[in-house]
């Protein structure tokens, strides 16, 4: 053939493409894949999906019925001297200007510090951009910047917040207060030291502008001085001054928290535990199995005997022991669940490597001068990847289920002392709530979500297995 011939190469169909085609033909697997992907997206973008902060308690609407629509209830606060109270975040996320309404119910004698703290990574500033007040009764608003200590990722920092006194009757549009002058991580506080002399039932609205999406803007109420304030309400309002309305699609729980939002965040936790524990098992199992299979002989039989022995241990028992003795930290759970799951992974990878090792194309590569590294990277890894991928997708739902089971036993994982409310924990809460009345939705929705997820993932995993390894069809 002369080298100037134009040649049209017929692109072949690789085994991956082939497997993908077979997967697409499996309707259940496709549905499973779509549902799984959707749930994964929801878990990743939870902040953007939820209508309200999942921790926001609307105590007026405990056990709210699914589908109910109502205004965001203002928070009623009874301040006790020296005690710190916090208003939960109202709207979960926000960028740009947000409007707040502050209802003064009774006379405020002295200053009240309102701390705004935002959970976000890159907020550079939060500005108070506008304060409206009712001129007749509010004598003076003093926005005073104390020297405040800000805690962020790199340590503590002292920042002087601008002082500004707003005299009544003055145009309030340009009043602003930079929160932080530079990029800062972690919790940030804005001190709005207001000395409001108001008689009663006055409304004060103020706008806050942030340069980044702020998650969970909290308004902490901290008193520094004596006061005789009895009750106030704070509410985040829409631009037109009306309160936000929430539809509690799946109802509210015993603390008036939105179940839908809680499920969305529960997805994140359940998925995270499923994926991380699976990755742990993947890491150990692939390495262990590959070594056993590749080295072979006595080393292999010893390593596999160890796996057999570990298989014999009642693993749930082991996980429970680990979690009760080392605490309920998620990391303990990751290690405990991953340490159990790797056994099967190791077996599968070992079997695969063992059978691949005998393949003539490995010998052909050796005959052509290919060393161990070449064979590992060009032949062994590409040929085991499919099986590993399949098994991984089957492991994730099983880990999720196990975690739910543990949460169900009351062993829900914690992170830095805070319980992580996975779907399992929500289901458990639902069961507990059942005892207190007709709160079926608190059990049914989490349980259904969990079931749908597990079904989808298993359908996807089975479909992948059938697609990658048609001979394996029907076998476990």
């Amino acid at each position: 053939m002369s080298t100037s011939d134009p040649v049209k190469f017929v692109a072949g169909r690789s085994l991956w493409q082939d497997a993908f085609r077979r997967l697409l033909r499996n309707r259940m697997a496709v549905v499973g894949a779509i549902v799984t992907l959707l749930l994964a997206c929801i878990a990743i973008f939870a902040e953007w999906v939820v209508p309200v902060d999942p921790t926001y308690q609307e105590l007026h609407h405990r056990f709210g019925v699914p589908g109910q629509v109502h205004d965001t209830t203002p928070e009623r606060l009874f301040l006790v001297e020296g005690e710190r109270t916090s208003f939960p975040p109202l709207r979960y996320r926000g960028k740009g200007t947000r409007h707040f309404r502050f209802l003064v119910q009774q006379r405020i004698a002295t200053g009240v510090h309102v701390h705004l703290s935002a959970r976000s990574k890159k907020v550079r500033k939060i500005q108070l951009t506008r304060i409206d007040s009712l001129p007749e009764s509010v004598e003076r608003i003093e926005v005073r910047g104390d020297r405040e200590v800000f805690r962020h990722g790199k340590g503590e920092e002292e920042v002087t917040v601008l002082d500004k006194e707003i005299v009544l009757g003055e145009k309030l549009d340009d009043v602003f207060l930079p929160l932080l002058s530079r990029a800062s991580r972690g919790r940030q506080k804005l001190v709005l030291n207001q000395v409001v002399r108001a008689e009663t039932n006055q409304t004060l609205t103020f706008d806050l502008e942030s340069d980044q999406t702020v998650r969970g803007l909290r308004i902490d109420n901290q008193t520094v001085a004596t006061y005789d304030l009895v009750g106030r309400l704070v509410q985040e309002v829409r631009r037109d001054g009306k309160p936000f309305q929430h539809r509690h699609l799946l109802g509210q729980d015993m603390h008036g928290r939105d179940l839908f939002s809680r499920l969305v965040f529960g997805a994140r936790i359940s998925f995270l535990i499923g994926v991380v524990a699976t990755l742990v098992s993947l890491f150990i199992g692939v390495f262990y199995g590959a070594v056993a299979g590749w080295v072979g002989g006595r080393v292999d039989s010893f390593m596999m005997r160890v796996v057999d022995i570990l298989y014999g241990i009642p693993y749930m028992f082991l996980v429970i022991i680990l979690m009760t003795s080392f605490g309920r930290d998620v990391r303990v759970m990751f290690i405990a669940l991953g340490a159990v799951q790797w056994l099967t992974m190791a077996r599968i990878v070992r079997g695969q490597v063992l059978s691949l090792k005998e393949k003539e194309y490995i010998e052909a590569a050796r005959a052509s001068g290919g060393g161990g590294f070449w064979i590992l990277t060009r032949h062994l890894i590409p040929n085991t990847l499919g099986v590993i991928a399949v098994y991984t997708t089957l492991t994730i739902p099983s880990v999720i289920l196990q975690e739910s089971f543990l949460s169900f036993l009351g062993l829900s994982p914690e992170w830095q002392g805070q319980p992580l409310e996975s779907w399992g924990a929500l289901t458990w809460n639902g069961i507990q709530a059942l005892g207190t009345g007709q709160n079926w939705w608190l059990l049914v929705f989490p349980a259904m979500t969990l079931a749908i997820t597990l079904f989808s993932m298993n359908f996807l995993g089975d479909g992948l297995r059938d697609a990658f390894d048609p001979q394996m069809k029907g076998r476990t």
Partner: protein
């Protein structure tokens, strides 16, 4: 062709491979499988040695020993006059270029996740030979050489028939321009109609490229035309070795005679008159050690001394060697 004049390209002396057998719970080594048990032969440049034997007699093991895919228990392999059996793997790398192998199973010998291009170019990539672009031309050249449509460059092995796959395997073996190719039953897995195509291709390539073949097969019919010298193997040993014409015309060893009698002859007249020698029993386990002739258990002409007399290859007529003490030297 006069092979005796030059020195051989490949010289195998007393090659042995004994595999340990591990048994029981603790995998204690209990026995040895004498897969190859003292094989010697010379292979001259440009010629073909046909190696024939039943399944399990150690043909593939012998091939792997020569290519050092396995380490021999004993014996030497000399390539171009240099003993390569003792050298380090690093030094042996340069010999790899000159010695390639075509495998029996065209399904198992091609990585299913690689395209034809990456399969054929793998040896080139391992040795870092050509640049990317040149490499493609080299691959296309090789495909053309073995009769594959260059348009299939980007296809995967499972999209080909057995014969085409074997051509891919041959192209891969040719990539490094080797002097010798070990063909380990290259046609056994193929349909009879395709077998001859591949055999013709191999013969053609030998002529064009001056290749030397060690051609392994499990039946005598296949190696007849392609071989200059034929060696018959039984339980890890060569029992008879002669030029192809001599071996087919006057087989001396009872085993060879039995094998030949099983080869069908196209002429029905001769076929009917021919006497068939049926071998009794299966191939004995290669684990046993036979002090005498290993074929004694199935030999139709066995006598009392066979089981105790060690058999060695000896020349009975010019370039015809047999390992049977019953065969008279002429």
């Amino acid at each position: 062709m006069n092979p005796e004049k030059s020195s051989p390209l490949l010289r195998v002396r007393g090659l042995k491979k004994h595999f340990p057998v591990h048994e029981g719970l603790f995998r204690r080594q209990t026995e040895w499988v004498r897969a190859v048990d003292g094989v010697s032969f010379d292979l001259y440049s440009g010629t073909t040695l046909g190696l024939v034997g039943e399944s399990g007699c150690g043909k593939s093991t012998l091939a792997r020993l020569i290519l050092r895919l396995l380490e021999p228990t004993e014996g030497q392999v000399e390539f171009e006059g240099v003993d390569v059996s003792g050298v380090s793997m690093r030094e042996f790398r340069s010999v790899r270029k000159d010695m390639q192998i075509v495998f029996q199973d065209p399904h198992a010998s091609l990585d299913p996740r690689m395209t034809v291009e990456s399969i054929i170019s793998e040896p080139l990539r391992i040795f870092g030979l050509n640049q990317r672009k040149e490499r493609r031309w080299r691959v296309l050249e090789l495909m053309d050489l073995v009769g594959l449509d260059p348009a299939f460059l980007k296809r995967y092995p499972h999209e080909f028939s057995g014969g085409q796959r074997q051509r891919i395997g041959i192209a891969r073996a040719l990539a490094l321009e080797p002097k010798m190719i070990v063909c380990d039953e290259p046609v056994s897995a193929l349909d009879v109609s395709i077998q001859s195509q591949i055999l013709n291709l191999l013969e053609e390539l030998q002529e064009r490229l001056g290749l030397t073949y060690l051609f392994i097969a499990h039946d005598l019919a296949v190696v007849r035309h392609i071989s200059d010298i034929v060696a018959v193997m039984y339980l890890g040993r060569i029992v008879e070795m002669a030029t192809a014409s001599k071996l087919y015309e006057s087989p001396q060893h009872p085993y060879t005679q039995a094998l030949l009698s099983a080869v069908p002859i196209p002429d029905p007249e001769i076929e009917r008159k021919r006497k068939r020698i049926l071998l009794e029993g299966a191939l004995p386990s290669p684990r046993q050690f036979h002090p005498g002739c290993s074929f004694a258990s199935r030999c139709p002409v066995v006598d009392a001394s066979c089981r105790s007399t060690p058999q060695t290859l000896r020349e009975v007529t010019e370039s015809h060697r047999v390992a049977c003490h019953l065969v008279k030297t002429s």
